[in-house]
């Protein structure tokens, strides 16, 4: 036994430090977030400023990643676009997580008919392919980046709810929850203090994986014209614009594509690393 107190977070960090790939992925995500925040400072050009003297130029010293059909700087648009993509990703996942975790916790803890009704509702939502559901929601609410957030949140809810319900069911039977019951701890405290923290590792891992999926879905919706409206530098919208110039100016699709790919991959790798560091079953 060491003299320093080994907190659960300390234990997690000790294990997570060994996940080299996840650390690199996490580092990349931090860089992208910083770039998005600092976009006005570091982007070499304004994202929506046309320059008709340099249209569809390839990468050069003036424009590292080239320019598009209006002469806008692709690098600047990607940096500004990170703001849009990350915002959509984080907000939609946060919204889906909050609602899903709350529903799952209540469902798993209370059981009975509450559980049956909530879970059948989630089953209905899960029965739609995510992107189809999102298209449906956007079709109803109308296109626009706000509605994309709601749409993605809607199909994140059931997965979080199911995940948390499963953990809550298992933890409800655990001895320490039973022990807390015999002490007289009341239901809200049982749920929030004893059961919820036990569900969080799985939620954190899944949220990280989900962030990648959500960014990808937002890009897809923008690509088919249901998301960000022009001239927003959203990555999916940039891909859609660049599609017309495939073979003429490949960099218009290549670089936004790489940005999407890297960010989604980074979130997935981070999620895998978090799982390895948090998973109870892998602990000795």
């Amino acid at each position: 036994m060491s003299d320093t107190i080994r907190t659960p977070f300390g234990e997690f960090w000790r294990r997570f430090k060994r996940q080299r790939v996840a650390l690199v992925a996490g580092g990349l995500i931090v860089l992208v977030i910083l770039a998005a925040i600092a976009a006005p400072l570091i982007a070499p050009y304004a994202p929506a400023e046309p320059d008709y003297n340099s249209i569809l130029e390839g990468p050069s010293a003036a424009h590292f990643l080239g320019t598009d059909a209006y002469g806008r700087d692709v690098l600047s648009r990607i940096i500004w676009g990170a703001q849009v993509s990350l915002t959509v990703g984080f907000l939609s996942v946060a919204l889906g997580l909050l609602v899903g975790v709350a529903l799952g916790l209540v469902s798993g803890f209370l059981g009975g008919w509450v559980d049956s009704i909530l879970m059948r509702l989630m089953d209905v939502l899960l029965a739609f392919p995510g992107i189809v559901l999102a298209i449906g929601v956007v079709a109803v609410l109308g296109p626009g980046i706000d509605n994309v957030i709601y749409a993605i949140a809607v199909f994140s809810v059931p997965v979080f709810a199911r995940l948390v319900r499963g953990s809550a069911l298992a933890l409800k039977q655990s001895l320490y929850v039973q022990a807390a019951r015999t002490i007289g701890v009341r239901a809200p405290a049982l749920m929030l203090r004893h059961i919820l923290p036990g569900c969080l590792p799985a939620v954190i891992v899944y949220a990280s994986l989900r962030l990648g999926t959500s960014i990808l879905t937002a890009a897809s919706l923008s690509f088919i014209g249901l998301g960000a409206r022009p001239p927003s530098p959203e990555w999916g919208a940039m891909l859609a614009d660049g599609r017309s110039y495939l073979g003429v100016a490949d960099h218009l699709t290549l670089f936004p594509g790489i940005a999407i790919f890297l960010v989604v991959l980074a979130f997935n790798l981070l999620g895998d690393g978090l799982r390895d560091a948090l998973d109870q079953k892998l602990r000795t």
């Binding site: 659960p8 807390a180 007289g184 923290p197």
Partner: protein
Amino acid sequence: MAETVTQHPALTMPASAGADLLRVQGLSLAMPGADGPVTVVQELDLAVRAGETVALVGESGSGKSVTALAITRLLDDTGGRITAGRIDFTTRDGARLDLVALDDAAMRRLRGAEIGMVFQEPMTSLNPVMRVDEQIAEAIRLHRGMDDAAALAEAKRLLDRVRVADAPRQLQRFPFELSGGMRQRVMIALAISCRPRLLIADEPTTALDVTVQAQVLRLLRELQAEYGMGLLFITHDMGVVAEIADRVAVLQRGRCVEQNETAALFAAPSHAYTRMLLDAVPMLGALADEALPRSFAKDSLPQDTVTPGAAPVLEVRGIATRFPVRRGLRLRGRVHAVEQVSFAVRPGETLGLVGESGCGKSTTGRSIVRLELPDEGQVLLEGTDISRPSGADLARLHREIQVVFQDPYAALNPRLTLGYSIAEPIRTHGLAKGDAIEARVRSLLADVGLPAEFAQRYPHELSGGQRQRVCIARALASEPKLIIADEAVAALDVSIRAQVVNLLMDLQRRHRLAMLFISHDMAVVERVSHRVAVMYLGQIVEIGPRQAVMQTPQHAYTQRLLAAVPIPDPARRRALPPVAEGEVPSPMRRLEDAPIVAPLVRVGPDHFVARHSVGGLY
């Protein structure tokens, strides 16, 4: 290599009668740890002769199981390594092999054929998707070269030999359909199927009930005599050692501290650790001449904490807890876990609730604190019926009655500091505010003999005994009148077990606590209980003062239970213990088949026994 050793007669030595079958010399083992390899066994010397039983004894972490793994070389699969020493084994054809140097293929031929193994948990050692007969027949086919029909016939003969009742039918079953005792018999049948010269049994009876343990121990002794096997028996239980071993090796933290003939070791242990182990082992009958319980402490006084005639803290009247068994939507039957159980516990009194697994003793405890909801009966807390509790009743129940569970690790939330866990009952019931809470936590920690700094620590940083102390501190936090100790010391090593029992009894003395001590361990129950209740199939079959129940048991089941307890005294070893065969039947019954509840009749002062209409004395 090993292959050549067996083929060159010049390198082999003839095995003379009485020579060592197994000789371990200077064996050191290392297992991977967080910061590199950790030495878990150091310079161990050990010898087993044919027909001899050597017990390897030690507390958890002493290295006894890894030693077994090293001898069978299964250690390689766990990431462990043999760092020094040799393991000489004399095979059937007289070759002497160093198992440390043997290659995998040669080792595989030895396992099963020459060295048989039986493990603690038979369920994990048997293939769950293979019928029992196929598993035994497979081993026979592989090692003895019989054809399918002959192998199956031999499998049946072996199951008869290990006294599996109704062998033809049991053979067709899957392991999960068998009881724990039956599984262990199958495991033994499997291990002896190839007539090994050495049988290694790693805690083979630890997971079994005491009456089944007695049956399995007797079986092992008989088989050993019949086949002339060497038996290396690994256990933590000194009672079992006295019952079965010819020689004993005591391990402490990977070192063998003492090795001797069993009788000599028990009579005159030379090492301090062996003495401590033997002292800590509760011996059934130690308090035969005393009416009151007494702790394990050196100069302990009789536990005179009960005021005669005091009103009971807890009274249980005819509670019944049944679990429905459904197939699909239809109710098929019920498990009658608790059936018409009544008893009372007075302030300062400990009622020992004993019985084997599945007898309903834990469910009784859980029904009192409403972790299970009883179907019938009343629970009275200081005279008030709390079977249909109001909110205030519930709060009182959860304040006045506290539970200490068997597994102290699982009972503490791993994400909360120990201080928070201990303070939780205080906060929940609003017993103190602000700084007073912290002061109370410190004094509770001191009460159970732990430093105040532990309040900031987390459960995973503590040892099992320390965690159980924390659980006890937590149970005391709401100043309860009654503590239900549900197998509270069963998971602890003997030395720690004695300390925790002493602590509980000390706390009883100081706080006049009443205790419901649920346990399968008769020797510990004898130490702590003022009165004892014996449960069988959900019913109390005998209840009375501890001395009366244990010294003059009246019910046939109580007698059987007491007779099966291994006594840690080789001088009192019975030639072959007279063991009743058969197992406890299942408490599950069909809907229309309600159990008959035998009425309790008085046979002595405060001593009652169930009177059955058929069979038995009462």
